[in-house]
């Protein structure tokens, strides 16, 4: 009796899991399938994941008739610079807040926690105002500088440095290494898991960033992938729905994060759960 019930519940469990796995993944299957269709085929039979006939014209037009290569270049540049900057600056600040004893440290940490609580959408217009006032609006600097350090990253790094033993650093300090030297050649190598988590969440966050680009630039030469994609959808393509093209561009924009997700899944999981400790 008991066995039969547990068999039934195992079956029910798998049923729910598979149903939701389909709900969560099948849209991506449809997206990829329809991106390889001709436009009439995608309009007539969107529900089928198999293109009939198979066509790469959507992708050809992504590269031929949109500024996709430009957006890709901009996204790569901005993402790499911001990620490197965040990893370096956030870990330095996190280390100082965790380990160095200096006047104002507590107040500073309080301020960073307060900053974490400021909702992003509230800053749209304010960010534009400051970029405009400083003459940075419509520049790569506007895309990069305001987001090159973030309070959440500082918080993650501080938590991490507090979790590792202080003895190794003390040994280095006794040997006469300066603060920066100790940080660079002793502390950072120990911090590899945290640095990797920060790298990955920074990459993903910056690659997908949309609203900041709205208030930082207006010049199409400076569009990143999400911005360019949003522009395509809001009608810069002209007539027709052109779903194969749009879906294809969206697939290409998703691939880098998808690849990193598959390889570094556990770091994503760790990154998501840092939020738990934040609360």
């Amino acid at each position: 009796m008991r066995e039969r019930r547990s068999l039934a519940s195992t079956f029910a469990g798998y049923f729910v899991l598979i149903f939701f796995a389909l709900v969560f993944l099948y849209p991506f299957v449809l997206q990829i399938g329809n991106a390889f269709k001709t436009e009439p085929d995608a309009a007539r039979d969107p529900l089928s994941p198999i293109p009939h006939p198979f066509s790469t014209s959507g992708y050809e037009r992504v590269f031929g008739s949109t500024d996709f290569p430009l957006w890709l270049g901009n996204s790569l540049l901005v993402t790499v610079v911001v990620t490197v900057g965040r990893v370096l600056l956030d870990s330095m600040a996190g280390y100082a807040l965790a380990r160095l004893r200096f006047r104002g440290r507590r107040a500073l940490f309080g301020a960073i926690i307060a900053v974490l609580a400021v909702p992003g959408v509230v800053l749209f217009i304010p960010k534009f105002l400051v970029l405009n006032q400083l003459g940075l609006y419509n520049s790569y600097t506007a895309l990069i500088l305001p987001v090159i350090a973030d309070a959440a990253g500082v918080f993650i790094m501080k938590q991490f440095f507090e979790s590792i033993p202080v003895s190794v650093e003390e040994a280095a300090r006794i040997d006469g290494a300066g603060v920066f030297r100790t940080y660079w050649s002793v502390v950072l190598p120990m911090a590899r898991p945290a640095l990797l988590t920060l790298t990955i969440i920074s990459f993903q966050g910056t690659w997908n960033e949309f609203p900041h680009t709205l208030v930082a630039v207006q010049n199409p030469e400076l569009f990143t992938l999400p911005r360019g994609l949003a522009d395509l959808v809001s009608g810069s393509l002209g007539k027709g729905t052109q779903y194969p093209l749009k879906l294809g561009a969206a697939v290409l924009a998703t691939i880098p994060v998808a690849v990193i997700f598959v390889i570094f899944q556990r770091y994503f999981v760790r990154g998501a759960n840092e939020g738990v400790e934040k609360g």
Partner: protein, 346 residues
């Protein structure tokens, strides 16, 4: 002794210097692009700046708190739009937050069950939508909910004639009330259309989310549940097995164990998920921008999108900025209330 003390003081000075050097870049960036902008925006929200030149030059008209009173007490288009956006967002929050929390908890409990294999795969599958770009995903949902698109054809399989999602501005609470025969949506009772708080009639307040808003609700529940599932999963894995076993020995059934052992232990995570959910649902923007731009008939307008549109499309920076501060206040109040409840109950 003397020597050591001297060196200690020198070390302390050097450490202070190093400390400030290490935090300087972050302090500079956050100060320049977070603190300073908020102060600048506070000023702009008290003016009628139209985007020309600098908002700090002498010719910019100072209007005091008028931009705020226009949102709440003055009859006009600004208040009508703002209150409509608040209404839309309230319905949006009221559906998204419970839906994503329940879905996330349910998935976490099943994924966590020890009898099932493939846990890593399912966890990854449910989490994947959360890491993708909001814009790219909105494109996919535009395609799926298009007229005679994926969803319409799927509904047709079951003999259901689906709506034209993105152009359907009918409020679903209106439809429900009509369906129950309580009121006639085409001819609502005068008692409801006559008046109501903040410039919208009671009938308008009672619209419920529009059909178009439901597409955005589904999209957001679909993308955020994965993240919250991970939080629940982490909490579930922290529950000692011995505790569940003890309850089992005491003769507690599965449902009882869940209610009396698991759920109370999940309470801190539950509050965290609800808080994060409330904070993020009041900020919905990307999906609105890509999928609906506030249409149809302003039924997907939200305060965040309205504030953007007022400033960057209509060049009404004053009211636009005022809306973002009201939004800020709403979010802060919700966070504080949550914290207070959490402190008392956990």
């Amino acid at each position: 002794m003397f020597l050591r003390r001297g060196r200690g003081r020198l070390d302390a000075t050097r450490e202070t210097l190093a400390g400030w050097l290490f935090v300087a870049p972050v302090v500079l960036i956050l100060g320049l692009f977070l603190l300073l902008p908020i102060l600048m925006a506070l000023w702009v929200s008290l003016t009628d700046w139209n985007g020309q030149g600098s908002p700090f030059q002498s010719g910019v008209p100072y209007v005091g708190t008028r931009n705020y009173t226009r949102l709440f007490t003055e009859d006009g288009l600004v208040r009508e739009d703002f209150m409509t956006s608040v209404r839309n967002n309230i319905y949006y929050v009221a559906i998204v937050v419970p839906a994503q929390t329940v879905l996330a908890l349910g998935l976490a409990v099943i994924v966590n069950s020890r009898m099932l294999k493939g846990r890593t795969f399912f966890r990854a599958a449910f989490f994947f939508p959360s890491v993708t770009s909001s814009v790219a995903i909105s494109v996919v949902f535009l395609f799926m909910f298009a007229n005679s698109g994926v969803v319409s054809q799927l509904l047709a399989v079951f003999g259901i004639d689906g709506p034209q999602w993105f152009s359907d501005s009918r409020g679903t609470l209106h439809l429900l009330l009509g369906g129950l025969g309580l009121v006639d949506p085409d001819n609502p009772p005068a008692a409801l259309t006559g008046g109501g708080p903040f410039g919208l009639s009671w009938w308008e307040w009672l619209s419920g989310p529009s059909v178009a808003m439901w597409t955005i609700i589904m999209l957001v529940v679909w993308t955020t549940s994965g993240t919250f599932m991970l939080m629940f999963l982490a909490a579930l894995q922290d529950i000692p097995v011995t505790l569940e076993e003890a309850a089992m020995l005491d003769g507690a059934g599965r449902r009882q164990r869940f209610r009396h052992v698991t759920l109370p232990l999940l309470r801190p995570t539950m509050f965290l998920v609800l808080t994060l959910g409330l904070i993020s649902t009041w900020q919905v923007f990307d999906q609105i921008y890509v999928m609906s731009q506030g249409d149809p008939a302003k039924t997907t307008l939200t305060p965040a999108y309205l504030s953007y549109r007022m400033a960057f499309k209509n060049f009404d920076y004053g009211p636009g900025t005022a809306i973002s501060f009201v939004l800020f206040a709403i979010i802060v109040v919700l966070t504080v209330v949550q914290r207070l409840i959490m402190r008392r109950r956990v």
